[in-house]
Amino acid sequence: MKHVAVIGVGQTKFGELWERSLRSISLEAGIRAIEDAGIEGREIQALYIGNMSGMFTGQEHLSALAADMSGLNPIPTVRCEVACASAAAAFRQAYLSLLSGQYDIIMAAGAEKMTDLMGSGVLTTLMGAGDQEWEGSFGVTFAGLYALMARRHMHEYGTTQEQMALVSVNNHKNAVNNEYAQFRFPISVDDVLNSPIIASPLHLLDCSPITDGAAAVIMATEDAVKKLKIENPVWILGSGQASGQLALHDRESLTKIDSTIVAAKQAYEQSNLKPDDINYAEVHDCFSINEILAIEDLGFCKKGEGGKFVEDDKINTEIKINSTGGLKAIGHPVGATGIRQIIDIVRNIRDRGGIGLAQNIGGSGATCVVNILGDNYAK
């Protein structure tokens, strides 16, 4: 088996970056990743970049633009799109390309400039990740889809709005020390429950925000890691990706996301690891209920016990979940989030060693990508 490592990471500040363009944030993330890897940049042989929608800026074909702006022409580039999981898919495509033997060093990135679009247009664009003909055409929003799942989880397992609120409270607490995060202030359960209802039972503070941001990583094969004398490689131990039904109403259950279960199984099997072995997890809390679904579907607790797991603070004591703030507090530039999660796992592993998992969901769960990384592939 060949081995692949992340050797450099870089990102922009996440937030409402009105003064920045899509091309400038993409460039900044890329340059920071190259500097962090300690390479010159000319060594990069291909670029995969996640970007959910050209409808935010009118700009399609971002991959070629990003290579152009970085002076990386004429390397081949591909923009990857699987809704909010676009960046993790770009990471996985880069990984598979390196395993293929075709390349030695690749940049995987993600970028989204959501605030160039205003008002209800943002919600309409995001809803493009659901079923336009049979969900969107009746006025369902993304918050609405996750609200329908939340309602069902409350009905089947007794999950409470307080437990969901605790997800947001914990993520805000964790973002206070994250210099890249959009919201660096703590909130209380009451703050969440008293915030306006967006789609019942979800309140404003159950929802991740609209964010601009970009993130990039440099990935290399084991041979290239040795040749470049990289001192702190973080290895990819397992990777999985799966699809599921696009529309909620076509699923057998609204309280689990099958694509997560399948992608996680692939990643656990490849890495020969179990949920118990994971020290840090970055999970896709686009809405608070989705962190609870992730905790269950990734196997950190039994189905239906995710709310209790949060309430008992096991997201800090048994495993560190979204220890840098999650999508809720760091912000969720949709096509960049998957790489941002990888970067936070890499930073955790560089500082403290161990094993981390990143789970990136597309849409309401029709795509999931799970990657497991560690400080040592031989363990």
Partner: protein, 134 residues
């Protein structure tokens, strides 16, 4: 922008959205709404037949939408349900008011209503919504 006002889109969905026409796979007996060109279980071995659904069902999940996408801003707040149809499939749609007695399991039936109106000169889209029985 997703073309909410697309006449071809509305035109080709009329049959399903006006009369709840879906289909079923005769081989495995699974009902589909919206209709599918192939049965995901039997794939090319399946045998698809058109079905008109009764519109009877019950609330499987629901949410009150307060912040709307384009074209629905004037309708807020509005209630969206996932309805379990008597014939089996789940279906997404709006639940009409009065809806203060909404809960999971309530019996509903389909009614014909205006869905959206695309400005003064655009198309008016009609189709099914659901109403609570009692």
């Amino acid at each position: 922008m997703p073309n909410k006002s697309s006449i071809p889109l509305s035109w080709r969905l009329n049959k399903s959205i006006y009369r709840l026409v879906g289909n079923k796979c005769k081989r495995c007996g699974t009902f589909f709404f919206p209709s599918r060109d192939i049965c995901p279980k039997c794939r090319r071995k399946g045998d698809i037949e058109e079905v008109v659904f009764s519109g009877e069902g019950e609330v499987y999940s629901y949410t009150m939408i307060n912040v709307a996408p384009k074209g629905f801003e004037q309708q807020t707040p509005y209630l969206i349900g996932i309805i379990k149809l008597k014939e089996g499939p789940l279906i997404t749609g709006q639940i009409v008011r009065p809806n203060n007695n909404i809960e999971i399991g309530k019996k509903v039936y389909a009614v014909f209503r205006k869905l959206t109106e695309d400005s003064k000169s655009g198309i008016i889209k009609y189709g099914f919504k659901f109403k609570i029985k009692d």
